[in-house]
Structure formats: C-alpha cells, structure tokens
Amino acid sequence: MIDRADKPLISIRDLKVYFPVSGGSLFSRSQRVVKAVDGVTLDIYSGETFGLVGESGCGKSTLGRAILRLIEPTSGQILFRDRDLAHLSKTEMREQRRHLQIIFQDPYASLNPRMTVSQIIGEPIETFRLARGQAKRARVQELMELVGLSARFLKRYPHEFSGGQRQRIGIARALAVDPDFIVADEPISALDVSIQAQIMNLLDRLRREKNLTYLFISHDLRAIRHVSDRVAVMYLGKIVELADGKTVYSQPLMPYTKALISAVPVPDPKVEANRRRIVLEGDVPSPINPPRGCRFHTRCPYAIDACSDVEPKLVQIRPDHFAACIRISPEQPDIERVAPGAAPGLWQHTAGPTT
C-alpha cells in the first residue's frame, strides 16, 4: 500500500494546458483557447495506481500527456524527484523520459508497422544506450516473457498480433527502460472483455514486481475502481473529486460523480431492475467556452444561482476526500441533505411500471 509519509513521486501544481483555436468567421479571426486542463493540482505517491476518470473531452488524456511533456503545458509545475519537468529543456526532458513512460489506447497506432517486435522493444534500449548486441537481445527476450509473449514472435510485425498482444508489446516497450512511472492512457478500452482482464492483471503484477507507479486514465468506471488505489474525477479540465477508489464509489460527494457511477450498467439483472439511475440532461458543454462558475452547473440538478458565479475549489470535505462544490462542506457533506428534493425527476426508476 501507499505510505503517505513518503514524499510524492509526482507532484502536479496548478497545471494548465491551453490550446489556441481559431474562432469566428474566416474574416474576423479571434484567438480563443480550449482550456483542456485548467489548474490541476495533485500528488501521486510511489507504488500507487492513481486512477483518472472522466468523459471524453474532460482533459484526462491531455493531463497524462502533459506530465510527460508530450503536450507542452501552458503553466504550472510537474515535480518529479526535485525537478520541475514543466521547465526542463527538451534535451533534459528526453533524459527524464527514461523514468516516465506511456502506454496508449490503440497499440496499433502507436507501434511502427514496419518494425519487428524485437526492433520495437529494442529501440528505447538503444536510444538510452542501456544495452547492445547480445545483452540487448537477451533483454528484449526477457521483456517479452515478462509481458507473456512467446520469444518466437520476435521477428513478427505488429499487424500479425491481436489487440491484446499488441498492448503487451506496448507494455514491454514502456518497460524496456526500467521506468518508475507509467501513464496508462485508456490501455484496455480497445480490447475485448476477456482480454481486458488479462491486461489489468498484467499491469497489476508488473506494478508489484517492478515497483511501478501508474497514472491509469480511463472512461471505464468499473476498470478504474478495480485497478486504482486513489481516484480523481475530471470534468471540463478540472478535478472535481478525489479520494481512495472505494470511497469514491461507495460514498461519492459530487453530484457529477454520483451521476457517473449510477450510469454504469451493472452485469446483474436484479440490480439493474431495482436500480435508481441519475440520468443527466444534455451533453458535456464545449471546453472552448465552458460555463462560468462551476462547470457542471448547467447539468447539475442541485445548482443554485451562486454556482454560476463562484468557481468551486477542490477542498477536503472528509478525511482524504476532496470535492469541488460550494454547496457541501465538512459540516454537511451530503448534497441531498443540503438540498432535499432539489432535483425533482432526477431520480428515475429504470424499470417497473411507471406511475
């Protein structure tokens, strides 16, 4: 388990990633920005799996990539071993990438189709001059076995593998440099159910064996709950809730988190039949012009006027449980008690006769 007395392995401070987009018509170009990540602060401790969950467009992948500087942060700090990654030169950052790796959703798109598996896994070993010749070949074989691929596949090309096997190749490549920290960006989303379990178990075994730390990014709440020690929920560029995985699921504070969890279909017909589901109205607003105040207020059934003015800060509501909502407080953490009946029609029965 995580020892919180330790210093965090990665500390992110007020990280912002803005993308310019050209707006307006062809003739009146106004520069607008997408605030993909807008002031995120969090600590990731050595040895933990930190889960980052949210819907598409919430900025979770951008955040993961910005930590590795695959996308340049606009401002803020990324502290890793007393260095601020956000302010390293390109050369200095390249050196650091030995310690920080990434696994992608679509291993096919991220593996060079013209390289054999042995070249793909061997490339980072060469780049960082970790081994050569026979030693390198031995290392590649060792990595393949580690991720459960037979060494007889060494000379094959990515297209000869299934999705799950390609993900194993991606994992082997990430591990080739003996990293400390891995961003796993939707690593199982493109895989079949039976293969998802294999990859989740593999990642978990490797974390324990190699003392790795993960930032596990996914839109899949079931997977996030299963793999994560702590979970952060993102909405439109901001972290809105943060706690250990079990707490986020069993006692969510934020109306958004509650809606997300209640929307996940449960593979049990009896549970589904009696379940009360929060069905949110509408879509996620555009990050180009996010709502003022709390970004969720346009869809939040508990919103009051102040929610469209005041930007809520992520504060501790219960021990080690943080949320960004002006309507709840340590004294009264339960939104339903703060605003009883504030959401008529919000709770819908998913089955049974309608009255």
Binding site: E55, S56, S162, G164, Q165, D192, V193, S194, I195, Q196, A197, Q198, M200, N201, D204, H219, L221, R222, A223, R225, H226, V227, G245, Y249, S250, A259, L260, I261, S262, A263, V264, P265, V266, P267, D268, P269, K270, V271, E272, A273, R275, R277, V279, L280, D283, V284, Q348, T350, A351
Partner: protein, 337 residues
C-alpha cells in the same frame, strides 16, 4: 403478409450459416445459429469481436457483401416469410419499414451532406407515402420524441453539427420513423460516454415500451444486456454457446465461457484483488481447432473437448448450452450463492 404464428414468434432464425472466402481459407463467421424472438421481446446477443454477432444480424438484414461473404444455409422467418428467399425489392421494402437498424457509429448511417430533416423525410416518403409536408411534420415530431431540444429549428442542421449522443438520437428517430416491428441495435452505445449511454438506453427502453416493437441488442457489454433484455444469446467463434432468459443466464450460467465472461467484469462493489481472466486468445476462425472452439482457453476442458464438437445441451425449458460438461457447469452455478 403472413401473421405471427401461434407460437408468438416474430422472428425465427434456423441453422443460419454465413461464410467468408479469404486468402486464409473459409471463415465460418456464423456457423449454424438458431434463435427465436417473440413479439415485444428484447433479445441480447453478447460476444467478443469475431464471435459472429454482427455478421449474424447483417445476415438477417441481407446486408452481407457477396462476395466475399455468402449465406450458405439456413432460414430467417420474419412473420412467417423467409427473408433469405425474398427478392431484392421485397428486402428493400422490409428494411427500414418493418425492420430497422441502428449502429455503433451514427456517422456511418447518416449522410454528412444532407440535412437531418431531409434524411428523416426520405424514409417516410418512400415507405409510408407521406407528402413532403406530412413527412417534415413527422420528422420534427420524431426528433422531439427522441429528445432533441428545439427540434423544429435544429431539424435543418447537418449531422456534424450534432454531438455523438445527439446523432445517435437522430439515428434512433430515423430507425423508428416507420414504426418498425423489429429494431436491431448493433453496439448502439459503445462509442458514447457513460452518462450519454444511460440516456440512450433509457430512450430505447421507453420507445420500445411505447411502440411494442421487438428489439435485438448486440453488445459486448454484459452490463448493458443485464438491464435491457429478456433473453440472451452468448456467441463465440460463430456459434451460439449459450442461450437463456436473462436472469437465468446471469444467475446460473451453464457454459464455462459465459461463466468466465461474467467473472472477468470487475465488480465495483467487491474488494480489489486479482480479476478472473480467461486465458489465451479468441481462435482464428479460418483455422479452428478440432472439437470445441473454446477448449484451448477453457479451464474445464478435457480430452473429449479437444476431439469432439460439443452437444447443445438443454438445461431448462428455455436454457441451452454448447458444452460437453454443460450439466456439471450448470449444477455448479446453481449451487453457488
């Protein structure tokens, strides 16, 4: 058209086989599946990629590209007539009018260059003989019905102006505009975020209840079928591995593959720990092993499984499993809490 038989079946698929000729040899994508669908029922077809679940439904709709594909045998009785023997004109009349489909990606079904109103009007003008005015009125009504805000104004938008969830609503409006008797939904929510998925599933449920249509829901997500269906078919390697009423299938699975699938979905309410995993990979359909296609991955497999194709064992009046040890697996599931 003939009426529904005394057995109440709207659709009866018997021994359907759809094969594809590839460089690698013959791929038996669907290999002898049979099922029935009663009027007003929802059937879930569950399987992983390559299981044949989508090909089965494209076959029912006669949408298999020939070549390389070919429906080599079987019958698809829809209201007593065999869809596989209808003329191309009769099939076109059936599709869109009496049987409608929605797909994972609405953009593959929506014409990006045509206003949404126009696309919705086409179907009712063609199939129901609506006048232009009537068709437009009906189109806007349908858009309102599926929850498009300001339907009157937004009807003249193009598909790209809508979000993914809204496009899926448009496609549902389109599919339902001729009041079909059967709706086939192939992974209708897979590309959507979870809160939008919940909206769309609720919508399909509501519309089904209102219209009394039958639904075939194809998905890889056991959670989605749990809350939506009456019966479930589990497919693997082109075969029906198990079929049962939904509650029965989840509570007393009689096939090792179904059991494995159910156990490999993380349970958010359970403690963490090692997740059950089905070992190995789905088979190469062009080179299936002898015996049971699941045997190389099956924890219960014995010698007989690697040599003889398993029987389709009846476990309860409505419950069948393709397994040499179906009775034993069923008994085991039944004894567990």
């Amino acid at each position: 058209m003939a009426e529904i038989g005394t057995n109440g079946n709207l659709l009866e698929v018997k021994d359907l086989r759809t094969y594809f000729q590839t460089e690698d040899g013959t791929v038996k994508a669907v290999d002898g599946i049979s099922f029935e669908l009663k009027q007003g029922e929802t059937l879930g077809i569950v399987g992983e990629s390559g299981s044949g679940k989508s090909v089965a439904n494209l076959s029912i709709m006669r949408l298999i590209p020939e070549p390389p594909g070919k429906i080599v045998s079987g019958s698809v009785m829809f209201r007593g007539r065999d869809v596989l023997r209808l003329s191309p004109r009769e099939v076109r009349n059936l599709r869109g009018r009496r049987i409608a489909m929605i797909f994972q990606d609405p953009m593959t079904s929506l014409n990006p260059f045509m206003r949404i109103s126009k696309q919705l009007m086409e179907a009712t003008q063609l199939h129901l003989g609506h006048s232009k005015e009537k068709a437009r009125e009906h189109a806007i009504e349908m858009l309102e019905h599926v929850g498009i805000p300001d339907a009157g104004e937004r009807a003249d938008s193009y598909p790209h102006e809508f979000s993914g969830g809204m496009r899926q609503r448009v496609m549902i409006a389109m599919a339902l505009s001729c009041q079909p008797e059967l709706l086939i939904a192939d992974e209708p929510t897979t590309a959507l975020d979870v809160t939008i998925q919940a909206q769309i599933l609720e919508l399909i449920k509501r519309l089904k209840a209102e219209s009394g249509a039958s639904v075939i829901l194809i998905t890889h997500d056991l959670g989605v079928v749990a809350g939506m269906t009456d019966h479930i078919i589990v497919m693997y390697a082109g075969k029906v591995f198990e079929q049962a009423p939904t509650t029965e299938l989840f509570e007393r699975p009689g096939n090792p593959y179904t059991r494995g699938l159910l156990r490999s979905v993380p349970d958010p309410t359970a403690e963490q720990g090692k997740l059950y995993q089905i070992p190995g990979l789905p088979p190469d359909l062009a080179h299936l092993p002898a015996g049971c296609p699941f045997a190389p991955r099956c924890e219960r497999a014995e010698e007989i499984c690697r040599q003889e194709f398993p029987p389709f064992v009846q476990l309860a009046p409505d419950h069948h499993s393709l397994c040499h040890f179906a009775d034993e697996v069923y008994a085991q599931s039944s004894s567990e809490p």
